[in-house]
Symmetry: C2
């Protein structure tokens, strides 16, 4: 049974403002919950699920002091952000921002990635290619946005995501080559890869802002492109991570 107050509270977490105020966010579906269990069990505050799902739950939640609240389909529809709500929704604690002092390997720097699906897919790409650290600059969508979380497919729990002004970040972190994805860049095959790199990906329609682009040690371009203006930001990130990590 779901109280009106509870339902209203959960619904409010769709908005960044309330996520920040309460320090909580929601995840939906068995797949994401199972990823949360593996990666971040202590982050789970409450679970809302169909009674049939609770009966067959794979874990002893009481042992972990996680409250499990049975809800029916109508109640789930009220609190779910999905068109087709799943059998389970969990409320999670937003972890405190990671403090990262060293940036070995590849670090992604995102300049105003606005589309939630794109940010989620970029986080999933990072996880696939073993990239641990992602710096979201000004104008990036919040990574606890429900659509971002859905697109990450669980990779959110395995990456460090920091929100910081990219200029200030680059001021602090000197000495690591800055590679910017740009249509005016040098073709990949002509560029030398480095072990440590800050890979900058720009906004979906405007690309990388000029004052960030100026910080680039090298600008790179993915070959191709006839009449198309550009690749999708998440696809471009995927190709660049493939190129950076794979001895092809």
């Amino acid at each position: 049974m779901l109280s009106k107050t509870q339902a209203k509270y959960i619904q409010s977490l769709v908005h960044k403002k309330f996520r920040e105020q309460y320090g909580q966010y929601i995840i939906e579906g068995p797949k994401l919950l199972s990823e949360a269990i593996s990666a971040n069990l202590n982050g789970i505050s409450k679970i809302y699920a169909y009674p049939s799902w609770i009966e067959n739950m794979p874990h002893d939640w009481q042992q972990h002091r996680i409250e499990v609240i049975p809800v029916n389909e109508d109640e789930m529809k009220k609190i779910s952000t999905l068109t087709t709500p799943g059998p389970v929704l969990a409320m999670m604690q937003i972890p405190s921002a990671p403090v990262i002092t060293a940036f070995p390997g590849i670090t992604l720097l995102l300049d105003a990635i606005q589309d939630p699906g794109n940010l989620g897919t970029i986080i999933r790409n990072a996880d696939w290619f073993g990239v641990r650290n992602i710096i979201c600059g000004e104008g990036c969508v919040d990574c606890y946005n429900p659509k971002v979380i859905q697109s990450t497919m669980g990779s959110l729990f395995r990456t460090n995501i920091m929100y910081e002004d990219l200029s200030l970040f680059l001021d602090r972190q000197q000495g690591i080559p800055v590679m910017a994805a740009s249509l005016e860049g040098t073709m990949l095959r002509e560029v030398k890869r480095t072990n440590d790199v800050f890979l900058v990906i720009g906004n979906e329609s405007k690309g990388i802002r000029q004052h960030i682009l100026q910080r680039a040690t090298v600008k790179v371009r993915i070959p191709g492109g006839g009449e198309t203006e550009s690749l999708n930001a998440a696809v471009a990130t995927g190709i660049l991570l493939y190129w950076l990590t794979v001895d092809c």
Copy 2:
């Protein structure tokens, strides 16, 4: 001024059933319209736009016998599928299905790509890497779905998209190597590229169906993947097209 009947007609084109019945679909925004003008001017039936946009229109539509209907913001909201409607929406003729008899270079075979954003992004990838032909198998979302069109960013007008049962297609087209993207495949670097190839991409959650996978000459896997199960379908397609087209 938009009549109720017109508004209802345009709204109905959100549904595949009515698009097929009327042979029409809609595109939105100046960017897509400008792509349609370059690639498929004769396909434009009608344009609905704000008076301010019409005044500064870059083309003489009367010359092309295209009717331009001024609408206000309230009317545009009614017929638009976007959260933030743009100044212009156009009604387009669905072209007759292309008849393609030869498949030089890379042809994409899509097995039940269901997410409109993914299909749109895959079409955009194809255009970027010069892939002309895409075969959408059973279970693929309709390419005239408004969300697909939005994600293609105009690439829809520059690619041939056929809907056909993939088994039947492969029965008819013998002799071209079939490359299937699969988590059980051989790492890319160990695979020999061929000039002509059918590249098969599977469903977002289930991958390629068994009876299609059996037709593969070679199964390929993109290196990477720690705890992540897979890459997004559109990202995987982008990386494979990069690998196939680029001498990296």
